[in-house]
Every structure is written in structure tokens, then in C-alpha cells.
């Protein structure tokens, strides 16, 4: 069921919140794709009772009576938050993250926490300590990552909305590979308070749903100014759901010159070309733009993200919370063994890269140079947005791929994020939506917009989804 219908059923009293939760819980129990790390039936039923008993209060909130699954990166008061890691296997936060608090207040009911790559580091959901997630369209394939569980949850029709986070494409790439819609907001639109940090200058939470409508409603709930996050923006409040039907007129949409030279596979390119005709059919104008700097983004990202990760993850030392290695006789060994046993290989690799690029002697050549590349990418976007309203491109180079591919070529896995990373470096909003179907698998396309143009991204996607059916296809 899509989000709009699910919410309407609650609002019209066709179904109670409790019945909706029971339906979702049944699907969670039948899940054989390893989508979830924990479910919270008792708490969910209690919360559903509360919402049913206060129908008047919740009947017009953005997410009234709708079950939701949250990525297991958001701290939940009194409920385990693992971040996909052995390090936090038994961590029970004493507070709710702002995203959780906002979604609760908006009338949603958390039924489960979704699986993810460990500390959000991965593009296939295979680095999770709790095992890989399978793609709902084909269980031999990956769902993408790092928010693979969240995307699979919506694709498998378990909940109609879920939350994710996107540091280098971790919402948009799994959205593309699972055939759902996912939005990475402008950096600072959604509070990061209580969201376990990976790369603080790029991490941003956002919504998943089958369509732009669900994403708009969930974003209305998630976004709020929060003084507890010093990077949270004091922007003008917008109601994204009501702006979905806003007429933004004929748009000038930028398409990147020679994008086919970046190694995008033929099927993805074909879907991209078809979508371009849909855009012109809707009255938009396409304009070729030069973005030859795009592919340098990946170099910058794989310096800056590991650098910030090595700093952020230094807090995991086995003393105040999280995993502790047993029988250590001195403090130095306690740190070393705790971190060696508690982190998985991909996380350790990124900590080592980050430590290296920040160390004396390498700082200028790597970290400073990467920050200059970041400036170059941001400048380029700013110059392009003087001329066009949105940029349109494929979300990924490939469709969903086989599990275990990372072992054969890790750099190919990193390059999966080639088209998503630039928006994170610049802090821009971007939305991925299903824009084709090849080899019995979905394909994703994405719009990147100027700062705080989520209304335009959502409304443009909504218009496409009014005349196409790719977002309605189910596994």
C-alpha cells in the first residue's frame, strides 16, 4: 500500500493505528531478506494505542497513524541502536534523536529499525555486522547501501515510509537499486542530533517512500530547526506536501555533456534517455551543461569521509559505552583490542585511510587537496545553477549487482557512488526515483537542485510520477 492510501485509511477510520501496526509486524516477522536488526512490537502497539486514543490530535499530522521503520543509525530512547556494528550491538541510548522525536510527534509509529552497512560505510549493505540484506527484486542481489534495509523495507511493501541517511549516496543509491523514491535534503535541513556520526560535514538524513508524495510528507515531519545541531539551518518553513502541486512552470533542466563516458551501463543509459523524453513531454527544456569535474568528486570524498570517520569513531574505545574486549591488562591494549574486535574490516580500512590523510606529512597532499576539490565541485554547481533550475542524471552506474562483488574489485564498489557523491560534497539536495525497468530490475534517475529547493525536486518528481508507472511496480 502506498503512503497516501495508508494515511487516508487511518484518517477515515477505515483502519486503526493498532491494526496498521499489526499488519506491518506480521510482514516483519515473515521477512526473509534480513531487512531488520530489531523490531519493537510491544512499544509499537503501545504507541498505536496512544495515537488511536488521541485521534483528534493526530488526524491531521503529516504521518498520522502510519507505521514507519527507522534506519538503525538514529538513537531511540531505551531501545537498541546498533549502527550495524558489533561495537554497538547492545547500546541502548538514553535519548531520542531529533528525527525520531519529530516522526513520533508527526503521528508515525516505529515498528522496527532497519539493517545498514556498518556505521553507514558501504554501498551494498554487506558490511553490516548483522549480515547482508537481500534485494526484494532478486534475493541474490544487493539492495544498495548504506540504507539498504530502509529501501528494501519500502520496496517489499512492509512499511510505506522509512528513514535513511545519505553521506555519499546512501539514500539515493539503494532507492535506485530497489525501485523506490529517496531524497537527500540540503545539508542542514534535517537535524543530525542523535544520528550516529560518520562524516559530519556530509551526513544528512532523509525520507524513503514509494513516491514523491510519501517523501514530501515524511520530510515535513523530519525537517525542523534544532539548536542542538549547530549546523542545522534556520531556513524559512515550507510545507513540502502542499507544495507538491505547485506549478513551477516549464523548467530548464541541465543534462551533463558526455555523461556516457563515465562508465554507465547501457540499460541505465537507455532509461535515462527515455526519461529525458518524459521531461520534454511535460514541457521542460533540456540544456547540455559541462561538468567535466564531476568524476574528481570521488577522490575528494574518499579522503574527506575517511578523515572525518577516523575522528568521529575515535570515541569508540570500550570505556563509556559499546563493546569492550575482555581480559585486557592495560588501557592501551584495552583500546587496541576493543577497536580491533568491535569494528568490521571496511570500517577499520576507512579509519586507517583517514588517519593517514590527516597525519603530518600527508595532510597537504591529501586532506587539503581534497577540500580544494570540494570547493571546485561546489563552485561548478553554483555556476551551473545560474543557468538551469535542476540537473538530471542517472543515480547509479549499474542496476542492482551480485553479492560479494566488493571482494573482487573494491574500487568498482566505491565508483558506484560517482554520480551521487558530488551533491554531498556541495551539500545540495537530490532525489532519486524509479525511471525505468530493465532485466526485471528497477533503474533510478536523480535530480540535483539548488540549496533548499526540495519543493522543486519533489514537485517535479511528483509530476513525472503522475504520467509514469515505474514507481508503482512491485517485486
Amino acid at each position: 500500500m502506498n503512503f497516501k492510501d495508508q494515511r487516508e485509511k487511518f484518517r477515515s477510520k477505515a483502519i486503526s493505528a493498532k491494526e496498521a501496526v499489526k499488519e506491518a509486524m506480521q510482514k516483519i516477522k515473515n521477512d526473509n531478506l534480513n531487512i531488520f536488526i530489531n523490531d519493537f512490537e510491544t512499544q509499537a502497539l503501545k504507541q498505536a494505542d496512544y495515537i488511536d486514543n488521541n485521534f483528534e490530535k493526530f488526524k491531521n499530522t503529516p504521518l498520522s497513524g502510519v507505521p514507519i521503520a527507522h534506519k538503525d543509525i538514529f538513537c531511540t530512547n531505551g531501545l537498541k541502536t546498533t549502527c550495524g556494528s558489533k561495537m554497538l550491538e547492545n547500546f541502548v541510548p538514553p535519548y531520542d534523536s531529533t528525527v525520531i522525536k519529530n516522526c513520533n510527534e508527526a503521528g508515525s509509529i516505529m515498528v522496527a529499525k532497519t539493517n545498514m552497512d556498518e556505521f553507514a560505510m558501504g554501498s551494498s549493505n554487506e558490511t553490516s555486522y548483522f549480515g547482508a540484506v537481500s534485494n526484494p527484486w532478486n534475493s541474490d542481489l544487493v539492495p544498495g547501501g548504506s540504507s539498504g534495509g530502509a529501501a528494501a523495507c519500502v520496496a517489499a511493501d512492509i512499511t510505506s515510509i522509512s528513514t535513511g541517511t545519505d553521506t555519499g549516496g546512501s539514500i539515493r543509491q539503494p532507492a535506485a537499486l530497489c525501485g523506490v523514491t529517496g531524497l537527500k535534503p540540503t545539508y542542514g535541513l534535517v537535524s543530525r542530533w542523535g544520528m550516529i556520526a560518520f562524516c559530519s560535514s556530509m551526513d544528512q538524513a532523509g525520507p524513503f517512500s514509494r513516491d514523491a508524495f510519501g517523501c514530501a510528507a515524511l520530510l515535513d515531519a523530519m525537517a525542523s530547526y534544532d539548536e542542538k545541531d549547530s549546523t542545522c539551518s534556520k531556513r524559512i518553513e515550507k510545507n513540502f506536501e502542499s507544495l507538491l502541486t505547485e506549478n513551477f512552470g516549464s523548467l530548464k533542466i541541465g543534462v551533463i555533456k558526455n555523461i556516457d563516458s563515465l562508465g554507465i551501463n547501457t540499460d541505465v543509459m537507455q532509461s535515462y534517455e527515455t526519461s529525458k523524453s518524459v521531461l520534454t513531454g511535460l514541457g521542460h527544456k533540456l540544456k547540455e551543461v559541462d561538468f567535466s569535474e564531476l568524476s574528481s568528486g570521488i577522490c575528494s570524498y574518499y579522503v574527506i569521509a575517511p578523515a572525518e570517520c577516523s575522528s568521529n569513531l575515535s570515541r569508540f574505545d570500550g570505556v563509556k559505552y559499546g563493546y569492550r574486549a575482555s581480559n585486557q591488562k592495560d588501557i592501551s591494549n584495552l583500546y587496541m583490542e576493543t577497536r580491533s574486535e568491535g569494528f568490521g574490516d571496511e570500517v577499520k580500512k576507512r579509519i586507517l585511510i583517514g588517519t593517514h590523510v590527516l597525519s603530518a606529512g600527508f595532510y597537504d597532499a591529501y586532506y587539503l587537496q581534497a577540500q580544494k576539490v570540494r570547493r571546485m565541485i561546489k563552485n561548478k554547481f553554483e555556476s551551473i545553477f545560474k543557468d538551469v533550475d535542476l540537473i538530471f542524471m542517472p543515480t547509479t552506474l549499474d542496476q542492482a549487482f551480485e553479492k560479494n562483488r566488493k571482494d573482487s574489485d573494491p574500487n568498482r564498489m566505491y565508483k558506484e557512488d560517482l554520480l551521487t557523491i558530488p551533491a554531498n560534497l556541495a551539500g545540495l539536495p537530490a532525489i532519486s526515483f524509479p525511471n525505468g525497468f530493465k532485466n526485471s530490475l528497477p533503474v533510478g534517475g536523480q535530480f540535483v537542485g539548488n540549496y533548499f529547493s526540495e519543493d522543486l525536486l519533489l514537485a517535479t518528481t511528483h509530476k513525472i510520477q503522475e504520467v509514469t508507472d515505474w514507481h508503482k511496480m512491485t517485486p
Binding site: 580500512k349 587537496q369 576539490v373 570540494r374
Partner: protein, 93 residues
């Protein structure tokens, strides 16, 4: 990267790895640096580094008691605690 550099790096990051695994770790790191090094050819001398995409403003709060003392919850989350303290192996002999 050689074995001595890797040992130093592992120590800085407080991560242990069996010496038998060192050649494989070096290979994996080198592989990533090969990808990253593609940016070294760019002449960006006229650009300022960018460390955050948006302009940051100072956020201050009123200096008042917000009753957020959660000492017990925080201590309960620690692998080992004693009374009001986190417990660690002896540091000073």
C-alpha cells in the same frame, strides 16, 4: 606504504592486526590511494579549501539548568562501572 608505515598507522588509529595480515592490508590501502591519487594532477592552487558546504553560525544557549542529569543511564551503558565511575584497567602502577 611499507610495513613500518603501516605499523605506525595502526598504532595511531589504535587498531591491532596480526603481522601476517599486514601485506593484505597494505594492498587494500594502496588500492584506495590509487583511486584517490587521481586528484593529484589537478592544479587547484587558486582555490580555498572547503570544509563545510554551508555557512556556519554560532549557536549559543542560555546558561540555565535543564535537568538533563542522566548519570545513571550513562553509567548503565558502560561495559564496566563502579559507583559513580567508569572502570578501566589500572593506568598507573
Amino acid at each position: 606504504m611499507d610495513k613500518i608505515e603501516l605499523k605506525n598507522l595502526l598504532f595511531l588509529a589504535r587498531i591491532n592486526a596480526d603481522e601476517k595480515e599486514h601485506p593484505e592490508i597494505i594492498k587494500k590501502l594502496q588500492n584506495t590511494f590509487n583511486l584517490i591519487d587521481e586528484m593529484q594532477d589537478l592544479d587547484l592552487s587558486d582555490l580555498e579549501p572547503l570544509n563545510n558546504p554551508l555557512e556556519l553560525n554560532n549557536v549559543s544557549r542560555k546558561d540555565e539548568n535543564n535537568n538533563r542529569n542522566k548519570k545513571k543511564e550513562f553509567l548503565d551503558n558502560s561495559p564496566e562501572s563502579d559507583d559513580d565511575y567508569f572502570t578501566v584497567p589500572k593506568i598507573i602502577e
